[in-house]
Amino acid sequence: MAERITLQVTRYRPEQEGRPTVQEYEVPCEKEWVVLDGLNYIKDKLDGSLSYRWSCRMGVCGSCGMMVNGEPKLTCATFLSDYLPGPVRVEPLQYFPVVRDLVIEMTDFMVKLKSIKPWIIREDEKPLSEGEFLQTPEQLDNYKQFSMCINCMLCYAACPVYGLDQHFIGPAAIALAQRYNMDSRDQGANERLDILSQHEGIWGCTFVGECTKVCPKNVDPAGAIQQYKLKATKEWFKDFLMPWRAK
């Protein structure tokens, strides 16, 4: 018989209870099973009322982020056998409001993501007939790391600054702003700087660095934010020393 492991899963049923409770389930601990497999086993065999988000099961969609033993993890990439003999605590991503069980409310992130204009901004559009904007492999390499973000929000759950101040624009949104700023086809860096150089933007970050450590895609949001701080400081100095410089 395969080994078994206990999952301590956070339940929150707003129509029944005012605050979350913990429910224990015992699931098989197959060698190749991840935490998400355990949750699916619960949903299929033990308790169909458990709610959680998931989709691709392969670290691409970014839906299955949860706290596993207090660490933000993609549950599709977190092996149960690493937690033997258990028990394993599974909680919704911290710092977000909980809608139900393991499902969090992510509107705040979506609004912030949109605010940094995550698309290519051009000052001078060229007609379609002139063809595409070309880019060298080096130019692609400049921003590629930041473009790997899957919006899983693990970095927000790792960021105590976001936990303490919900106005902070947060790691992923800033890294994605940097993704477009560093794209050779983009000309919108100044527009983004106005949003990001506010107090709730880059200056809210105290460089805890945990966002980078928990990122399943090695995006390095902490690096993006510090690099942005450096750039914003340089811009400020240039404007200060040369006030005649056109913005």
Partner: protein, 138 residues
């Protein structure tokens, strides 16, 4: 159908967990961050100490001797040792963070992290050696 139908309006009742004041105690990584932030107090303390030392120096030999006596008291010694440890912690943690703030690219390739952190340590050692030479010569 005069009656108005009764709808159960769906409105999600979110649960928002309050962030504990002691969020930084439970995990070493967050405690380390708070210690790194606190270490700036030690940096400030050494700045003040140096200013006091300069003031004592400008007031003449008697004043400076008194200042040195004060430095020898066990409490000040203990404070200085603790502050030194904090300043070392401050320096090392920040030096190790420089690569992520300043990625340097040479011919399209990003330099490895240690190559960006190393010059800080070299400069630190060189400056310390110069200062040690200034103080210890004769």
């Amino acid at each position: 159908m005069k009656e108005t139908p009764v709808y159960t309006e769906y409105h999600p009742r979110w649960y928002r967990a309050r962030v504990s004041t002691y969020w930084w105690i439970r995990q070493w990584k967050y405690l380390k961050f708070i210690l790194r932030e606190l270490s700036s107090l030690s940096v400030a303390y050494f700045v003040v100490l140096t200013l006091l030392q300069l003031r004592a120096l400008s007031r003449g030999p008697a004043s400076y001797a008194a200042f040195q006596e004060w430095l020898k008291s066990p409490i000040v010694m203990a404070l200085n040792v603790v502050s030194l440890l904090f300043v070392l912690f401050h320096t090392i943690t920040w030096f190790n963070l420089t690569p992520s703030a300043m990625p340097v690219r040479v011919r399209g390739k990003r330099l490895p992290d240690w190559m960006i952190a190393a010059p800080n340590y070299v400069a630190w050692l060189a400056l310390s050696a110069v200062i040690a030479w200034l103080i210890l010569r004769d």
